[in-house]
């Protein structure tokens, strides 16, 4: 996969020393989604011998996370990754006191300009995640699409708008049922109930992005034989049985670039975005759900990606 363009080729060449990384994620690292993306990237980089790392999960409360970040910094880690917007403030506030340690902070689009000398900022293109998910959902030929989300948060709402745009681009005939919010990130049962209800109202595909609730969505949909998009591996094999695909982050190229920068002593002063183009956003191989999904879906997606890359398709 293509890496972020900031990495210079010789950086990795003379990186004989192993970089120590301390990382924090807001949720569980086995969530099969956002948090796990970082955990997997770190594990892979460690396998490759580039880093050793320590990872702390469930750090969504800044009251807990700030001391952990400070801890990492004071123990002399080379790079401290705060993965998740909840950690942004804490990273910046600790980074001030440790100018010699490298940090990364994540946030919304506006964090890209907030970098400092020892803090690089990161975000991902949520419009692409939403659009591609919607596009895949549209390509399945589903006619009534339901959505179950955790809570009515700004970014959820924003992502959802792109999802709708993606659906319409792929299949203008499809109709969308209003979003149902389960009201919790964890309440799989409520999500299952919501999904069953949507199916009862005629939904033939259900989209979700939540963590814990995906288990409920996946379980209810798969037992009703209805397709889903966005169910993560954390929901379990059975739930994945009818999941067409999930658009997700791949943190490997991003983290690798950071590590190389640290090794080369060139870290800092910029912000990066994970995109489809730079391999930071990927989609899971298409599951044809026993032939329910047209066979040319993968091909059409690749076409879309190419069009997005050359600018012939833009997401508004």
């Amino acid at each position: 996969s293509s890496t972020v363009d900031t990495s210079s080729d010789d950086a990795s060449a003379d990186a004989s020393e192993v970089i120590t990384v301390g990382a924090l994620t807001p949720g569980n690292t086995n969530d099969g989604a956002f948090n796990q993306a970082l955990a997997d990237a770190l594990a892979q980089l460690e396998d490759e011998g580039l880093i050793t790392y320590e990872l702390r999960d469930q750090m969504s409360d800044p009251a807990t996370s700030e001391p952990v970040i400070a801890d990492f910094a004071s123990q002399g880690f080379d790079l401290v990754i705060g993965h998740g917007i909840e950690l942004g403030d804490a990273v910046f506030s600790v980074a001030e006191d440790f100018p010699d340690v490298n940090f990364t902070a994540s946030g919304g689009m506006d964090i890209l300009d907030a970098y400092t000398d020892n803090v690089e900022t990161w975000t991902y293109d949520s419009s692409q995640v939403g659009y591609l998910s919607g596009y895949i959902a549209g390509l399945t030929g589903a006619t009534q699409i339901g959505r179950v989300e955790s809570m009515e948060l700004d970014f959820v709402v924003a992502t959802d708008e792109y999802f709708q745009e993606g659906v319409m681009a792929a299949n203008p005939e499809a109709s969308l049922l209003p979003v149902v919010y389960a009201g919790s990130f964890d309440d799989a049962e409520a999500a299952a109930s919501a999904t069953t209800g949507l199916i009862g109202q005629g939904a033939d595909l259900v989209y979700t992005t939540g963590d814990g609730i995906a288990a409920g969505v996946g379980s209810a949909a798969s037992s009703a034989g209805v397709m889903t998009v966005g169910v993560s591996p954390a929901a379990g094999e059975d739930a994945l049985a009818t999941n067409v695909s999930t658009v997700d982050l791949d943190m490997y190229p991003i983290v690798k670039a950071w590590v190389e920068e640290v090794a080369a002593g060139k870290f800092g002063g910029q912000g990066v975005t994970s995109t489809l183009d730079n391999g930071g956003i990927v989609y899971a191989p298409i599951n044809d759900v026993d032939g329910a999904v047209p066979s040319d879906v993968t091909q059409e997606i690749e076409e879309l990606l190419a069009n997005l890359a050359d600018g012939s398709v833009t997401i508004s």
């Binding site: 469930q58 919304g108 700004d154």
Partner: protein, 386 residues
């Protein structure tokens, strides 16, 4: 006689302590790490650096204030478990107050004004939210444990909605949060190089105030009320006044904590603002036997536990963070048992425990029953007896 009693006590304490260690060690081993590293981490978690020690204090402040201000309510037998929601509402009103001030007077507002405004708004918010279950209890006899529990959920809803709408930050954020406070609204740091802030001083003031209060007649009246409401009536206290006033005090304290959490730690309002301090506060109040000094110690202990558990995770590397929660739960359980063995059972729940002393049956024929803890859920009930 005395010897056997002491033996039993030692045996229980030893057994409980061994149980805690065994469970913790087992869990660490399960994760493929060394229990000794875990133990080292537990100690280092609170002591290895000034920063970590500061964290111990930071964690103590909210729990201690909530627990301290719960003293009157619990002494009177009013069991409110609504601190969690009151913290949330206090944080919202404090945030609103601070931004209101900023909007009205621009950047010229001096720090003390912000602090006073935040504290007052927070306390008022928490207090007002506590009066609601008090009203329900007084007017309609609604069990306050349940009403406060339910209102915690409502507070969460209000917080979520506020962060999405009128208090939402202008930035595009994934998790809901308010904008950053003006710098002068932040609670100043008390110990340089740590996050320990001036909220600590509030703990001392509140503890001192309660120590003084404890010796007042007002306190004695509440204690009488808990077990003998009629006698308390003669002393000039009524059920309504007791419930309103004690719930109000606990609400004010929790609201103040709401402000401390936003102004002292995050400098903005976030969804995680209450973060379980309400429930910890109740546990600490009971562990501290409803005595201010005991509560401060229990709060320090509780906070140390949280910090130590994080340190343990950090020292063992591979162990998932949830171990902190497990260790906290196990130790809380153990300490509750040990505290009960240490003191006479009546002392721990002194205000509400009343093995009905009637007729010539002092210890009660039902000495096998747990008279101490079983029947103090609602004061409403004790009145209905008549």
């Amino acid at each position: 006689m005395k010897l056997t009693l002491d033996f039993r006590r030692v045996a229980i304490i030893g057994g409980v302590a061994a149980g805690i260690v065994a469970v913790a060690a087992l869990l660490i081993v399960l994760a493929g790490a060394s229990p000794l590293d875990g133990l080292r981490g537990l100690v280092e978690g609170v002591s290895s650096s000034p920063y970590r020690f500061g964290e111990l204090l930071v964690g103590t402040v909210p729990i201690a204030i909530i627990a301290l201000t719960l003293i009157p309510a619990l002494r009177a037998g009013v069991f409110s478990v609504g601190a969690e929601g009151q913290v949330t509402i206090g944080a919202i009103t404090a945030t609103a107050g601070i931004f209101g001030l900023q909007n009205a007077f621009g950047d010229a507002v001096p720090a003390p004004v912000y602090l006073v405004c935040g504290a007052v708004c927070g306390a008022i918010g928490g207090g007002a939210y506590a009066l609601l279950p008090a009203l329900l209890a007084v007017r309609w006899n609604v069990n306050e444990i349940l009403s406060t529990l339910l209102l915690n959920y409502v507070a969460t809803g209000i917080l979520g909605w506020s962060l999405r709408t009128w208090l939402a930050s202008g930035e595009n954020t994934a998790t809901p949060q308010s904008a950053l406070f003006p710098e002068s609204a932040a609670l100043p740091t008390l110990i340089a190089g740590t996050r320990a802030h001036w909220g600590l001083v509030l703990v001392v003031i509140i503890a001192a105030a309660l120590m003084w209060w404890q010796r007042t007649s007002n306190s004695a009246r509440l204690t009488v009320f808990a077990s003998r409401p009629k006698l308390a009536r003669r002393l000039g206290t009524t059920r309504a006044r007791t419930i309103y006033s004690t719930m109000l005090v606990s609400g004010l304290g929790a609201g103040l904590v709401g402000w401390i959490q936003v102004s002292g730690i995050n400098d903005r309002l976030m969804g995680s603002v209450a973060g379980g301090v309400g429930f910890s506060g109740i546990a600490v109040a009971l562990l501290g036997a409803l005595v201010p000094s005991g509560i401060v110690v229990a709060a320090l202990f509780f906070s140390a536990l949280a910090a130590g558990a994080l340190g343990m995770q950090s020292a063992t590397g591979s162990v998932p963070t949830s171990i902190a929660e497990v260790i906290k739960g196990v130790i809380l359980l153990g300490v509750a048992c040990i505290a009960a063995v240490q003191k006479k059972p009546a002392a721990i729940v002194a205000p509400t425990a009343e093995p009905a002393a009637t007729d010539d049956d002092p210890a009660g024929a039902g000495s096998g029953t747990s008279a101490a803890v079983e029947d103090h859920i609602g004061i409403g009930e004790s009145e209905q007896q008549r």
